[in-house]
């Protein structure tokens, strides 16, 4: 084997190792899911308070991720927070009276949207609005309520 061939073999090994490292980073370490997004349909919901919800936060049904939060903006008419989420097409049998609530994973974890399926025969379609919502629980409000009750009962 000539020296030139040896160099080429080593460079091949090097590039291969780099590709393996990239694959490890992409699939084992991060949440790489291919270049194209999974096909999905969009629904939105209006919340009084979204707490710390962020874009790309998961949308979960019974704890399973069924979609992602797309956009968060303020609705110009109601001044409520309008959260647009894409639900994967695999889960297109969500009844129209599905409710959405903003929950926290763990005590200090990230916030996500939890869905609860209702009993209606009609299903959510692209562009529909989820009517039944429950806003994020803000810890300060909770403590405030507790304090007022505490003060009232103390009289």
């Amino acid at each position: 084997m000539t020296r030139k061939q040896l160099i080429e073999i080593w460079v091949g090994v090097f590039v291969l190792m780099g590709v393996i490292a990239l694959a490890v980073v992409a699939f084992k370490v991060s949440n790489f899911q291919g270049l194209q997004e999974r096909s999905s349909y969009q629904v939105h919901a209006l919340f009084d308070n979204i707490g710390g919800l962020k874009e790309r936060a998961p949308v979960k049904l019974s704890g399973v991720v069924v979609g992602r939060v797309n956009a968060i903006e303020v609705d110009p008419d109601t001044y409520q927070a309008k959260v647009t989420m894409s639900i994967f097409d695999d889960y297109d049998k969500l009844s129209i009276d599905t409710s959405a609530s903003i929950l926290t994973s763990g005590l200090l974890g990230d916030q996500y949207i939890g869905l609860n399926v209702g009993a209606d025969d009609l299903y959510l379609q692209q562009g529909d609005r989820i009517e039944l919502v429950q806003s994020a629980i803000v810890l300060e409000d909770l403590i405030g309520q507790f304090m007022t009750k505490f003060a009232e009962s103390g009289d």
Binding site: V11, F14, V15, G18, V24, V25, V29, S30, N31
Partner: protein, 261 residues
């Protein structure tokens, strides 16, 4: 007294002019190098040889350093996180710090010391033994056949080395956290998987390492070409490459982090 003040001012002015002249020569060097870059793919064997010298020969130092950096990160993270009963997050912490900062930066620092200095010394010596002039005499453009392959090789090698550094670091962190400290294996990987974002964390880290590659290549090649053609001049140029590239990497990292995250 007046004379001393004037002398002092003259010195400042002189060093500023020298610095500016060097920056100017650097800019001209880069501007001249850019059109020659496609030629690095014209003679592939030159490029492959450079990938071998800069990349393959840097492997041992990069892999060892990555393993130890990951192990230390994991150990330190565990000691803090165990107080909050959230030692599973050590995987997330190791992966995020490696992907976002330590992987690209430390790999680039090591690369600047290991390969950047060698590149400067080689080209400085080529200049002092008048090999570059000889090439020009034979109507062979040294930019196309000496500088361009080295520049492109650095651009190819830098992200690959940084990725290997990160993968080794995560392996090291895994060994310490799961193998030694007894963190739950499933929680280690799943928490890491859930909180590391491909676009936000991994791709930004790769972009960083490419930017560092450009920086190292420009500094190393320019310092070699700009070296005073004596043995003293070449050694000074090699030192300058390591110092300027290291500081440049850290400063550029701050700018990139501020823009990206």
């Amino acid at each position: 007294m007046k004379q001393r003040i004037l002398n002092f001012l003259e010195q400042i002015g002189q060093s500023a002019m020298v610095l500016l002249a060097q920056w100017g020569r650097g800019a001209i060097f880069v501007a001249n190098l850019l059109p020659a870059l496609p030629y690095s793919f014209y003679r592939l064997e030159l490029l492959i040889k450079q990938v071998y010298f800069t990349g393959v020969l840097s492997l041992p130092i990069i892999l060892t350093a990555g393993l130890f950096v990951g192990m230390v990160l994991s150990l330190q993270g565990y000691n803090v996180l165990v107080d909050f009963n959230s030692e599973e997050a050590v995987g997330t912490m190791t992966a995020l710090s490696l992907l976002r900062e330590l992987g690209p930066v430390v790999a680039a620092l090591l690369f600047a010391g290991r390969a950047g200095s060698a590149m400067t010394a080689e080209i400085g010596l080529m200049k002092s033994t008048e090999q570059l002039s000889a090439l020009e005499m034979m109507a062979v453009d040294p930019r196309k056949f000496v500088f361009a392959p080295r520049f492109s090789a650095t651009l190819i090698v830098m992200p690959l080395l940084s990725l290997m550094f990160i993968a080794m670091g995560i392996l090291g962190g895994y060994m310490v956290a799961v193998g030694w400290l007894g963190v739950d294996e499933g929680a280690f990987w799943s928490q890491m998987h859930a909180s590391v974002d491909w676009r936000e964390d991994a791709v930004n880290g790769i972009i960083k390492s490419v930017a560092f590659g450009v920086l190292i290549a420009v500094i190393a090649l320019f310092q070699g070409e700009d070296a005073v053609p004596t043995s003293e001049g070449v050694s000074g140029a090699t030192t300058r490459t390591v110092v300027q590239a290291s500081l440049g990497i850290l400063a550029l990292d701050f700018v990139l982090t501020a823009v990206m995250f």
